[in-house]
Symmetry: C2
Subunit: 173 residues, 2 copies
DNA sequence: TCTTACTTTCAGATACTTCTGAAAGTTCGT
DNA sequence: ACGAACTTTCAGAAGTATCTGAAAGTAAGA
C-alpha cells in the first residue's frame, strides 16, 4: 500500500468532532475540546501550524486555546532541543486527566459558591424565629453540604489510581 | 415597626444575584439559576407574575425557565384549590437537590460521551500494533473509566442521605 | 357562547462568546 | 544590529444564546 492513510484516522476524526460538540454541554468551548481531543490521540507532540491545519482554525484561535489548555494543566509545552518552535502534548493517563479536571472544576464551581453561602449565613446569623431563621438555616445546610463535598473530592484527589479503584470496588461490591 | 422589610431579605437578594452569576460557570443560564434561588428561599410558593416582578424579567423568559426547571425536577408546579393560576415551589432538601442535579448532569454529560467512546473503540477493534492499536486502547480506557464513574454515581444516587453520610464518614475518617 | 384570567409561543432585538487575520512583539543565530 | 522564525495580541466579524413583548392559545365560569 502506497500512502497508508490508516483507517483509524477516520475514527479519530469522528472522536475529535464529537468531543468538540460535547465540550459545549460541558461548558468548555468547542475549539478547546477539539484541540484536546486531537492532542490526546496524537502519536507525537504537535506544533501550532499543524494544529491549525488539522482543525481549520486561525492562528489566534489556536494560540488562545492552547494557552488555556496549558492553564488547565491538560496539555504541556515541550521544547525540542535544537528547535525553535513550541510543541504540545496531552496528558494521556486517564486518572491524571480526571484529577486535573476535578480540581479545576472544584476551583471554578465550588469555591465561589461556598463564599456566597458563607456570606449569606453570616449576615443572617442573628435572625430570630420565622422566615429569616429559615433562610439562615438553609444557607447553613447548603454550606455544610458543599464543604462536605469538597472534603470528599480532596480525599479522592489525593489517592493514587490503584487505591481509588480499590476503594470504589468496596463501595460497589 | 411599620413595614418590616425584614433584613434577611437583603441577604436573600444577595444570594439570588450571586447564585445567578454562578449558574454561568455551571453551564446553567443566569435566569434559571436566579428563579431557582428565589424559589429555594421563598417561604411560600410563588406564581409567574410575582417572579417576573421580583426578578425584573419578561413573561416569556419567566415561563420558559420555569418550564425548564420543572423539567430538571428542581421545582414543581402546585395547584391551589379554587385558584386558576399555577404556583411553583422548589425542593428544599439539599440531598434530594443534589441527587436531581447529579442525575441530570450524568444524563447530559456522561451518557453522550460514552456513546462516542464506544463507537470509536468498536470501529478500531481490529487495528494491529502501532498508532491504530494505541488509539483503540485509549478509547477503551476512557470508556471503562466513564462506565466506572457512572456506576459509582448510580450507587451513591440510590443511597438514602443517612447511609451516604455514613459511607462518606468512613472514607474521610 | 362570551369574557376573563391566565399560559404558551415566537420573531426580532440585545447581549455575550468565539473566531479571524493582520500587525506587533519576541527570541535566536549570525 | 539585523533578519528569520516563531508567538502573542486585539479590533472587528461572525456566530450563539438569551430575552422581550405582543399575539395567539387555552380553559373555566357566567
Amino acid at each position: 500500500m502506497q500512502h497508508e492513510t490508516a483507517n483509524w484516522e477516520a475514527a479519530r476524526e469522528e472522536f475529535i468532532a464529537q468531543w468538540g460538540a460535547l465540550g459545549s454541554n460541558w461548558g468548555i468551548n468547542r475549539t478547546m475540546a477539539q484541540i484536546h481531543a486531537l492532542l490526546m490521540t496524537a502519536p507525537e507532540s504537535m506544533y501550532t501550524d499543524e494544529i491549525m491545519q488539522r482543525l481549520h482554525i486561525s492562528r489566534g484561535n489556536a494560540n488562545t486555546n492552547l494557552r488555556e489548555l496549558v492553564g488547565w494543566g491538560l496539555i504541556r509545552l515541550v521544547v525540542k532541543k535544537g528547535e525553535r518552535r513550541e510543541y504540545f502534548e496531552a496528558e494521556k493517563d486517564v486518572w491524571k486527566m480526571f484529577l486535573t479536571i476535578a480540581k479545576e472544576r472544584k476551583r471554578r464551581e465550588l469555591d465561589p459558591a461556598l463564599g456566597v453561602l458563607k456570606g449569606c449565613a453570616e449576615q443572617t446569623k442573628n435572625e430570630g424565629a420565622g422566615p429569616g431563621r429559615d433562610f439562615h438555616n438553609q444557607m447553613k445546610e447548603l454550606q455544610e453540604f458543599v464543604e462536605f463535598g469538597m472534603k470528599v473530592s480532596d480525599t479522592v484527589s489525593s489517592m493514587k489510581h490503584a487505591s481509588a479503584l480499590q476503594w470504589a470496588m468496596r463501595l460497589l461490591g
